[in-house]
Point group: C2
Chain length 357, copies 2
Amino acid sequence: MSKQILVLPGDGIGPEIMAEAVKVLKLANGKFQLDLEFSYDELGGAAVDKYGVPLADETLERARAADAILLGAVGGPKWDAIDPAIRPERGLLKIRSQLGLFGNLRPALLYPQLAEASSLKPEIVAGLDILIVRELTGGIYFGQPRESKVLDNGERMAFDTLPYSESEIRRIARVGFDMARVRNKKLCSVDKANVLASSQLWRAVVEEVGKDYPDVELSHMYVDNAAMQLVRAPKQFDVIVTDNMFGDILSDEASMLTGSIGMLPSASLDSNNKGMFEPCHGSAPDIAGKGIANPLATILSVSMMLRYSFNQVAAADAIEQAVSDVLDQGLRTGDIWSEGCAKANTQEMGDAVVAAL
Amino acid sequence: MSKQILVLPGDGIGPEIMAEAVKVLKLANGKFQLDLEFSYDELGGAAVDKYGVPLADETLERARAADAILLGAVGGPKWDAIDPAIRPERGLLKIRSQLGLFGNLRPALLYPQLAEASSLKPEIVAGLDILIVRELTGGIYFGQPRESKVLDNGERMAFDTLPYSESEIRRIARVGFDMARVRNKKLCSVDKANVLASSQLWRAVVEEVGKDYPDVELSHMYVDNAAMQLVRAPKQFDVIVTDNMFGDILSDEASMLTGSIGMLPSASLDSNNKGMFEPCHGSAPDIAGKGIANPLATILSVSMMLRYSFNQVAAADAIEQAVSDVLDQGLRTGDIWSEGCAKANTQEMGDAVVAAL
Ligand SMILES: CC(C)[C@H](C(=O)O)[C@@H](O)C(=O)O
Ligand SMILES: CC(C)[C@H](C(=O)O)[C@@H](O)C(=O)O
């Protein structure tokens, strides 16, 4: 049976990088007989422009019906001043939440060919390969009540709520342990259990789930210490599992350790491994339309899709290998370019991956 | 009139490093005629052992009556298993809150003599001098309600609340602007206004306060991006102002950029600049009692106390200069030692600062 892929190019450089990723995926589709079918829609600012909202109901229905979603990037200064309720990001948050995409996988992998790009010393980051597992549909991002109001004394105040239930923690902990099991069998759960009630439950439930994974070494770390350790000695980590807010912060910090965030894909999975796949980087409005953005993170997101949602390991491996081959050839977009390498634009990079595949 | 200093050595290496800091302060007391008087008490695990609680009422009263407080460090494995309500950290949180120490100053300064210690490339961190201004008595650390409960379906859940009022934001923003004004006139306010209601108010109020500081360049950054930018290009920052939780994470990340957290002091001030002064590092239970801990962060906390609470600029400068001189002499405790330097223990380091002063 054929698989339906919904493509959401999004804003800024999204359409440019997505064009290359789809080109690669279409080639893999033929080569590995994946039987994929494609449809297209808008999310974020592009959806605001077309539908008046960052995620239209019909787009959400299409996303529900699809077997996997490929997303470019959302947001940009064009929509900075609009009503906060329909800002591009709200579309992203809504699709995550409505589709139950609670399991966010964010690898921070340093490509040996790009070791120079890191702001850290080579010996600190050489061989870096961390996976951050971020809870994506709970916590303070979606907690109710949240409100902004004026107090009796005339003062404004606002508050958010950070809730977690046992089942929410349990299922993301399982993702963390499952990932650690097929990697280096080390899981570090990050929380702030010395201060937060939600973190105390988080830690207790992760401990309980750990009983089912005696082969995985579990540790706990406070989020402030984790932010420090990522800078000091990031290679101590294998898999990190953490809540929505801490995961947002730590995954961005970890990705920047590689110095090449233009290379990093991500996956957001539901409980059946249906998912949305997107680059870790943003919509880069400053270079949008110039055809110079790095499409590799989006191409690698395609590989994650094949691996995690469709279990097409051979095809996923082949795409990763093709990306690595292109780096070996010395081809680089501007963001990862260094002395002695050949400069490629977005399309040339996509073409090179196609050729290598 | 004489000034009362309450000394709380705390746990782990706290008593060792505090002994050196007090030695330095007593010398400065004579030399600069500061007219300081000293009293001692316990906080954290040591207070649990002595009083059964991490902050006794009588200690709190003494702290209220004092003109400034010097704190070593709190916590350790000895108290890990006790009732969460009386864990050492609760004493720290309570004294901050009860004394209204809302303004937490955490400098991340790279000493040129220790440039090697950073895990970042020298060109990224050379000359690094950031000040993180963290809101310390509000937000999710103290927000009510917070609860852990069992739902009707038998599932456990827990939640915390992240509240901020206009006046809380206003007063910490002022600290940020005031600090920026006497430094490089750049203030970056960090929030998550694309997701959190409290951050939207935060951003709005900081903007308003900014109208009173036309000479300070104000920018806003999302916390995930800030965590990235600190790794990528930390020298873009001068002063960062942010909430309690984000400040906890970012200040630890920033301090680790220097590679020498054993050098970094901090101040926690109330609205009259009365404050508590402590090193950024923890109680380091693994080396406690060995006499090898680095006392310089605590000695520099003394300098912050003289500068911010007592306006004794000459004495504060002299202590900082003495620390710098000792580094110039090549003296190093183990945590900052590198090839070619002379190794000193805690007491030798304190003595060297005394001699330099
Ligand atoms: C755009 C924003 C709402 C989003 C988030 O905070 O989750 C982004 O930072 C991310 O990490 O995907
Ligand atoms: C010990 C802990 C409660 C404390 C905090 O989170 O504030 C510490 O990490 C700090 O930053 O001073």
